[in-house]
Symmetry: C2
């Protein structure tokens, strides 16, 4: 049911295009995967996400476990049916949120993580087995092994210990997954950890590569500091099998997408375009003045757009840019109207979709580095 | 540019179907007009409102005057272009909001109303002339004369005085409108007032009927008490010309729509379906258990819908009911997701659109009273 085919390998870099096939359809890579934390991409209907053109979305196991609960999602036919998104879905393992949303409120030992719900402070326990069972019930096409996510500042000793635990959890994840996935309806990705240490990243990459995962995620890369992050991923990648799809967890700044596509990463998820949309940041490409220095975005709330009849981005072909002015969208912001979130999210996601499409075309034409240069000004 | 044609007069009541033609298209009556207070039907794109099937929307002059301001809307090409709704638009006169949102904060004399902005407490003055000038800049197809709205509890003396003022304001509105509307791009509706007093309602109806308005609104009917409201409108209607389109301002409960369509009203605007959507009330028809007693609605937040795979309304053909379960929509409510507002508003507006369509068909078949009976259980 699951496979990955490399379509074209760029001649001048590790960038490649490919197709991930899942029970709910194909994902054209490199792809940006919008985040649907609570089984909804905030403010958009699945019809709109489909209209933009996305192949897949990613939901968060931690959130859906707490609310509405995996049994409810299962009863309702799994995530796709639940949210009326009849295309591929990823879920993460819950590991990242358990720890990031519960700083100081979760206790970890080699067996499990105990944490308190951020909703009602009720106590819960996650184990690798439980993460697999939950993700099974949620029914995503691509799921992730349960890992421990560390702060980027963790020292070598802490990271070494944590990595051993993560590796043991990944083996347990794989074992439980194999038991549950007899019908092959899901694919499991292992995760490379190892913090800030090249040696540990290498060790982790080799370990994950040695196990029969369907794909590989790279975790705890926070994008900053940029050069250090790049070096760590570039090093780990060397020890990963070329023919497995690779996902970079939580990364999605424009410049990062170029950096990591160049290293051969295939899929990316990130809340950046949707979260920034909701506070008024509009993404724009180089032809509209988007550049590294302004992070490819501007704020539409600015007074100077009060009477501006131009669209958010004059070079964008999306529904929002074809129909609405900056003045109107600024008005919605000022008037605290719900439609503001919808229009902004739509445009920003369209921007990321279009960017990935441009990237895929450039790879197929062996011009990825040329495109990167155009954008990295 | 503007005209109204009666298509079919019901044989057993005053109900009729008709077509209002405006520069931006036709409105099939009787029609429900969704409210787009700040130039947006809360949480929906104009594409979605169009998909539901509505012919027209109504915006509020008071709100748009304060934000973004009539000059901005005019610069951006008028309301239709501003909000990307290329179909008929109504605006009210601002009179109702000036008084209802500024209780105790506005002072009225025969010349004008002075009020404080509910946004920043800045001082403003509305006159009939100013209301016309603002509505001219906003550029709606159908606009309303400036009137004074009273509390339903106002006594006869107060109402009599207020009515004289309203009538003088309506004459001033008409005079200013005629000056501004040389190109006939807009139509002006007069408004019948007169509070709780049949005699005054009659006087007002006769007065408004004597002036060359394009259509007639009936104001300050709050729907309650039901029988008193009905009696007042039924009485006023007798003195209004049959061939002018009639709008009932702010009314839209299901039972009220039946009551007032039966009396010959043609259009209705009301925030009920959209406002109730946002707090979780789902409208349903008689085939799904909707009746007078439950006000044709239920709350989807109810615990019992936690795992309910059924749509909001099994007999509804809307996008929401064809794709989502009660359990999913309840989940969005619990998780405080923006998509909740969109899906609920979509369904409720679809319900009102479908209801009016059924009403129009029943009139054309001379079966309006039969349909009313089916619903009024």
């Amino acid at each position: 049911m699951f496979n990955f085919k490399i379509k074209h390998q760029d001649k001048k870099s590790l960038a490649r295009t490919g197709i991930i096939t899942t029970p709910h359809g194909q994902i054209h890579t490199p792809a940006f995967i919008p985040v649907a934390t609570q089984a909804t991409v905030k403010s958009l209907t699945p019809q709109q996400i489909n209209e933009i053109g996305f192949d897949a979305i990613l939901s968060n196991t931690y959130h859906l476990y707490l609310r509405p609960g995996p049994d409810t999602v299962k009863k309702l036919g799994g995530l796709q049916k639940f949210m009326a998104w009849n295309k591929p879905v990823f879920t993460d393992s819950g590991g990242f949120q358990v720890m990031s949303l519960n700083k100081g409120l979760c206790t970890i030992n080699d067996d499990c993580v105990e944490f308190k719900s951020h909703i009602d402070a009720s106590k819960h326990i996650f184990t690798p087995e439980k993460s697999m069972q939950i993700q099974r019930k949620l029914g995503a096409d691509i799921i992730f092994a349960f890992d421990q996510c560390l702060a980027i500042t963790a020292d070598e000793e802490t990271t070494t210990k944590s990595l051993a635990r993560t590796h043991s959890w990944e083996e347990r994840s794989l074992k439980e997954f194999t038991k549950l996935n007899k019908n092959k309806s899901q694919a499991l990705y292992g995760i490379v950890q190892g913090g800030r240490f090249k040696k540990l990243r290498e060790e982790s990459a080799k370990f994950v590569a040695s196990l029969p995962f369907d794909g590989i995620g790279i975790g705890s890369i926070f994008g900053d500091p940029k050069e250090e992050s790049r070096t760590l991923v570039a090093h780990a990648i060397k020890f990963l099998p070329e023919n497995k799809p690779k996902h970079l967890l939580g990364i999605g700044a424009v410049e990062d997408l170029f950096t990591y596509v160049e290293l051969g990463l295939d899929t990316f998820d990130c809340v950046l375009p949707t979260r920034l949309a909701r506070v008024g940041y509009v993404f724009i490409g180089p032809e509209s003045g988007g550049k590294l220095k302004n992070k490819y975005r501007y704020r539409v709330a600015n007074e100077k757009f009060k009477d501006d009849i131009k669209p958010l981005d004059s070079h964008c072909e999306c529904y929002v840019c074809k129909n609405f002015s900056r003045a109107y969208i600024r008005h919605l912001y000022k008037a605290e109207e719900l439609l503001f979130y919808t229009l902004m999210t739509y445009h920003n996601l369209y921007f990321f979709h279009r960017l990935m499409k441009e990237i895929r075309t450039s790879i197929e034409n062996d011009e990825f580095l040329k495109l990167k240069k155009k954008w990295m000004k």
